[in-house]
């Protein structure tokens, strides 16, 4: 301890104090302040850039999600449209089918009616014709038969004979 106190130099202490004080002041002004500010601003810059990147990523994700939603919606819409169209088509076909059926049925009915009436008229005509013909034939036959006396007698005899048999 004595040795230390002996070695202690107040002058050196004083000089050291002054030098250290001046050095601290100078270093603060010319070195540490700009360095620490620079470091701080650089770190802030890096942090900001990172944040911005993160934000951009989030935004991108949002956008993507939006896109996907839109896409899904569009797809659903298309699907529904397609379905509607298909339904419409089916309906139209159905309608057309029933209509055609109806028309066809009507036409068939009409045709049948027409055929029936034609047939009837044709039958009536045929009947008339046939009756006329038969009368004609009968007239001819009767004329022929009744041209001589013998034959007339004979016919009568035949007819009578037949009638007795019956």
């Amino acid at each position: 301890m004595d040795q230390l106190l002996h070695d202690f130099s107040p002058g050196l202490f004083f000089m050291q104090g002054i030098i250290l004080f001046i050095l601290i002041v100078l270093m603060r002004k010319f070195a540490w302040k700009p360095i620490l500010d620079g470091l701080q601003s650089r770190e802030d810059g890096i942090q900001n850039a990172l944040d911005a990147a993160e934000n951009a990523k989030l935004e991108m994700q949002n956008l993507q999600a939006d896109n996907e939603k839109l896409l899904k919606e569009a797809r659903a819409e298309r699907e529904s449209m397609l379905k509607e169209a298909r339904d419409l088509k089916n309906k139209m076909i159905e309608d057309a089918k029933t209509e055609a059926q109806e028309t066809a049925n009507n036409m068939i009915a009409q045709a049948q009616a027409a055929i029936e009436s034609e047939k009837k008229s044709a039958m009536a005509e045929l009947k008339n014709h046939v009756s006329g013909l038969s009368i004609e034939i009968a007239e001819k036959v009767v004329r022929n038969e009744l041209s001589n006396k013998d034959k007339q007698l004979k016919l009568i005899e035949d007819m009578l004979g037949e009638a007795t048999l019956n």
């Binding site: 202690f8 002058g11 050196l12 050291q16 250290l20 100078l26 270093m27 620079g38 470091l39 650089r42």
Partner: protein, 379 residues
């Protein structure tokens, strides 16, 4: 895994250093007691002379001495200005006026004042005395010390360090001022160190909000001590942080800073500790005050001083093995041993140079952190 092993190994190493320096210092403290004057320029070859030489080196000196040629006695050195405050006012001259005398033989006559240099200290002769008389313990009886504001070797080293710091960090600062966000060249080495001090020392100990105010002091002190420690390892032979005046000044700066930045809370907790019986409070206040004003700065200054002094002592002693062991082992073996051992200790010293700067700054910021801390729990 390898990284972890390395980390553990590093820690072991640090502890080894701490332990070894506790030991090294023990004999450093116990050993330098004899005080025979040795006129510099003589050949150093006995144990006694080596001890004298080392203790001379550990002290501050008034000239910058590189080497002395033995045969011709030529000194390769340059003088430094001596500025002393004597009883007759300020006296200035170059240290070459002492002609490398360190034993009070050469008297510098400055008109009304006679000055001599004894063991690297400048003494003023009492009125009427013409030469220095020594008592049995080799203390001057008719001379007294003067206030010595000389640009000694230590002051020179401090100025050099200051200049280096201003140049190096000034360049880094200019880079940032110019708007470059990434430094180039040597600044690239300095920048991570600044970030290290900020993120590992200041922020965790002082707190995210308040650290900024103290960065100027902490960074300056950290690099100041580190560079001075490293300068001490060069063959230039600086021993600045091994001067107790220097470390005392550093510690007092720390004390002043944490005393003046103490919050109301800190003072309340120091002087009138809440939550303890009233009778105990004054006792606690005394203990706390003694702790903050005396013990903490004392341990700061002693730690730095003792580590650096012990380091220089060990390195120089190991270099001196070359001479002391020459008689018993021959020149080759003793030189080899000396080289090997001093190389090993030098490597440790490089680490200690950093570690001491780190610990000084760390503890300073710890104390500052204690002083500026806001206690929100009133227990």
């Amino acid at each position: 895994m390898i990284f972890l092993t390395m980390k553990v190994a590093k820690q072991t190493f640090k502890f080894f250093i701490l332990v070894s320096f506790l030991f090294a210092n023990a004999f450093a403290m116990a050993d330098n007691s004899s005080k025979d004057p040795v006129v510099s320029g003589n050949k150093v070859d006995t144990a006694e002379e080596i001890r004298e030489y080392i203790s001379h080196h550990l002290k501050d000196s008034h000239d910058f001495h590189f080497y002395t040629h033995n045969e011709s006695g030529t000194h390769y050195s340059f003088p430094l200005p001596v500025i002393v405050w004597t009883s007759n006012g300020l006296k200035t001259f170059m240290s070459s006026a002492f002609h490398h005398d360190d034993a009070g033989q050469v008297i510098v006559d400055k008109g009304d004042t006679k000055l001599v240099k004894i063991h690297s200290k400048i003494y003023e002769l009492d009125q009427g005395a013409t030469s220095v008389n020594f008592d049995a313990e080799h203390h001057a009886t008719n001379a007294h010390k003067v206030l010595d504001f000389s640009i000694t070797k230590s002051v020179f080293g401090m100025l050099l360090t200051g200049l280096l710091m201003l140049l190096g960090f000034g360049a880094l600062a200019r880079g940032f001022k110019k708007g470059k966000s990434v430094p180039t060249g040597f600044s690239r080495v300095l920048e991570p160190l600044v970030i290290y001090v900020r993120d590992e020392i200041a922020k965790p100990n002082i707190g995210e909000k308040k650290y900024r105010k103290f960065m100027g002091f902490l960074l300056t002190v950290f690099f100041f001590i580190w560079i001075l420690n490293l300068l001490g390892l060069t063959p230039l032979g600086f021993n600045v942080t091994g001067q107790i005046a220097v470390t005392a000044c550093l510690a007092i700066f720390t004390v002043v800073i944490y005393m003046f930045s103490g919050t109301k809370d800190f003072w309340a907790h120091t002087l009138w500790m809440p939550g303890v019986p009233v009778i105990l409070r004054p006792i606690l206040a005394v203990i706390e005050l003694v702790g903050f004003v005396i013990i903490k700065p004392f341990s700061l200054l002693i730690r730095l001083f003792a580590n650096i002094t012990a380091g220089h002592f060990v390195v120089m002693s190991l270099i001196a093995l070359m001479i002391t062991l020459k008689a018993s082992f021959g020149p080759v073996v003793s030189t080899g041993m000396s080289l090997l051992l001093s190389l090993f200790i030098m490597v440790i010293e490089l680490l200690v140079a950093f570690l001491q700067a780190f610990i000084f700054t760390m503890l300073s910021s710890l104390f500052i952190g204690m002083a500026v801390e806001e206690h929100d729990d009133h227990h």
